[in-house]
């Protein structure tokens, strides 16, 4: 694509599908010699655009620095064309909790993109040869990748620096990549990976090893019990194809995985409720000066006005789980349970190279369906993506079926630091299974 074509594609995605919170508007900006183009989720700091993390409370905030991931991609010759829409601060699985714009599914405008990196998945799907940077806490890369029919890689926790990432769950957030196929991800993962002096959790990683492969996968029976018939059949068909490729498929029991969703929601919201405390209208974003109110009243007023309802719900839940008399039962217990889940995976990896499940229990819901969901039902959408996210394991979602025309993905999780084998399998899969291009792209 030349500059003009790229500009047109970006504009179409923006106007037709509300993919972007902000994007390059000037056609001249698209000209010039760039090795590739990329977008990032709007919770990664960028100096040339606002960074609002889907929230009103950061209205007008222009960070004075780039996130490390963005800086590295720019240095490698990438053109940052825009910031993609998302659930406010990452809180959601459908990108409908956005105060800025709700992205629509490239395959069906009445359906959501998934979340919270919904705009990123849509950008990857709608714009040819595009690299979208996303962020996953409990599945926010896998879920939209599955719903929008693109490839989404979530690296190991700590593989990619989180400097400049607006935090949701500090021990759970991971910067990752989405694209219409695995090749751009394979190419640019090394660019964003690697230790960063500004992020201590990125400093103990072994070097990124792109070799390795997957000869066997384990399917946890608990995780495939509760699927819709459509999804079960589609998944079985995909499993058949893998077997045809020579991959051994084993059924295993992973009973500890039933603790993963509760432990995740406790840890993620407990950490998030502290990360959110700084937003009080005083130092960046929407600054409010009102000398009629004392500081407590002012902070409460600003926060209540500037934050959406899902954000408030998670702050309440997270605050509760770490209060005096409760933190042992909830917060501390969740930390302990994370170890159990990690060990459960370690056991599975003794007998297989990866753990395989469908990515989501269903295809992208319609917006009107989402409106009738309870909070609990919405949380339950994460049932398959949360376990590897809680354990910090690298995982990939690959389109593997189309149900009623809507994409569905399968998710493979590998041991810590073994991103390479996931991308190898993706490459092999792509010669067996043809990904569809949405109407919105042509």
């Amino acid at each position: 694509m030349n500059g003009a074509e790229l500009a047109a594609a970006v504009r179409r995605a923006d106007v037709g599908y509300q993919v972007f919170a902000e994007r390059l508007e000037d056609p001249i900006a698209y000209e010039g010699d760039h090795a590739f183009h990329f977008s990032t989720k709007d919770n990664l700091c960028s100096i040339d655009f606002q960074t609002r993390s889907g929230s009103r409370i950061l209205e007008g905030y222009r960070p004075p620095f780039d996130a490390t991931a963005i800086e590295r991609l720019r240095k490698a010759g990438g053109l940052l064309i825009g910031k993609t829409n998302m659930d406010e601060f990452g809180f959601g699985s459908f990108s409908t909790n956005s105060a800025i714009g709700v992205p629509r599914n490239p395959f069906d405008l009445e359906r959501c993109c998934g979340g919270s990196s919904g705009g990123a998945a849509a950008a990857a799907s709608l714009i040819e040869d595009h690299l979208a940077v996303g962020v996953s806490t409990g599945g926010s890369i896998s879920c939209p990748a599955s719903f929008c029919g693109v490839v989404g890689l979530t690296p190991t926790y700590g593989r990619v620096s989180r400097w400049g990432l607006i935090d949701y769950g500090t021990s759970l957030d991971k910067v990752g990549l989405l694209s219409a196929s695995s090749a751009p991800i394979r190419r640019y993962l090394p660019v964003i990976s690697g230790p960063d002096p500004l992020d201590p959790t990125s400093q103990t990683q072994p070097p990124l090893d792109m070799s390795g492969g997957i000869d066997s996968v384990a399917v946890p029976e608990e995780m495939v019990a509760d699927l819709s018939d459509d999804m079960r059949d589609a998944f079985q068909e995909a499993v058949g194809k893998l077997e045809g490729m020579g991959v051994e498929v084993l059924k295993v029991a992973m009973p500890a995985l039933r603790y993963a969703l509760p432990a995740y929601y406790i840890l993620a919201t407990a950490e998030a409720s502290t990360n959110m405390a700084r937003y009080c209208g005083m130092r960046y974003g929407d600054i409010v000066e009102d000398t009629d109110l004392g500081f407590n009243e002012l902070f409460s007023s600003v926060r209540s006005r500037g934050l959406g309802s899902e954000t408030k719900r998670r702050i309440l839940l997270g605050t509760f789980c770490r209060m005096v008399g409760l933190r042992d039962r909830y917060y501390i217990k969740a930390l302990q349970v994370r170890q159990l889940v990690i060990r459960q995976y370690e056991e599975a990896f003794q007998g297989a190279d990866a753990v395989l499940t469908p990515t989501m229990p269903y295809v992208a819901p319609r917006f009107d369906e989402i409106e009738t969901m309870t909070a609990l039902e919405a949380y339950h959408a994460d049932i398959l993506t949360v376990p590897p996210n809680l354990a910090g394991l690298p995982h990939i979602s690959l389109p593997c079926a189309y149900i009623g025309g809507m994409p569905a993905g399968m998710q493979l999780a590998a041991p810590h630091w073994k991103e390479g084998r996931l991308l190898s399998l993706a490459e092999r899969w792509e010669s067996e299974f043809q990904y569809r291009i949405p109407e919105g792209r042509t």
Partner: protein, 90 residues
């Protein structure tokens, strides 16, 4: 998770909630918390970490590296003679 508790938690978290919101959140959180009860079955362990991968002994040398442009940071905030203007204290 009754309404009384929701109000208390909201105060700690500096969130102003309408009565309607208090009621809604109380119901949501009650449901969500009941799904957490399964964790009471899980065994406890002394062996746990704050992160899913080891992050140990990460230290930085005590050498000054002045931020190149503090004025840029001050521009994000409301200031008076360089002091950051904050809210009323009482």
């Amino acid at each position: 998770m009754d309404e009384e508790t929701v109000r208390k938690v909201a105060r700690v978290a500096r969130l102003d909630l309408t009565d309607e919101e208090v009621s809604k959140y109380a119901a949501d959180l009650e449901d969500i918390l009941s799904t957490f009860e399964v964790l009471d079955e899980a065994p406890s362990t002394e062996d746990f970490d704050l992160d899913p991968v080891p992050v140990e002994d990460r230290l930085r040398d005590d050498e000054v590296l002045a931020y190149p442009d503090p004025a840029r940071l001050r521009r994000e905030m409301r200031t008076a003679d360089g002091w950051v203007r904050g809210p009323r204290l009482t």
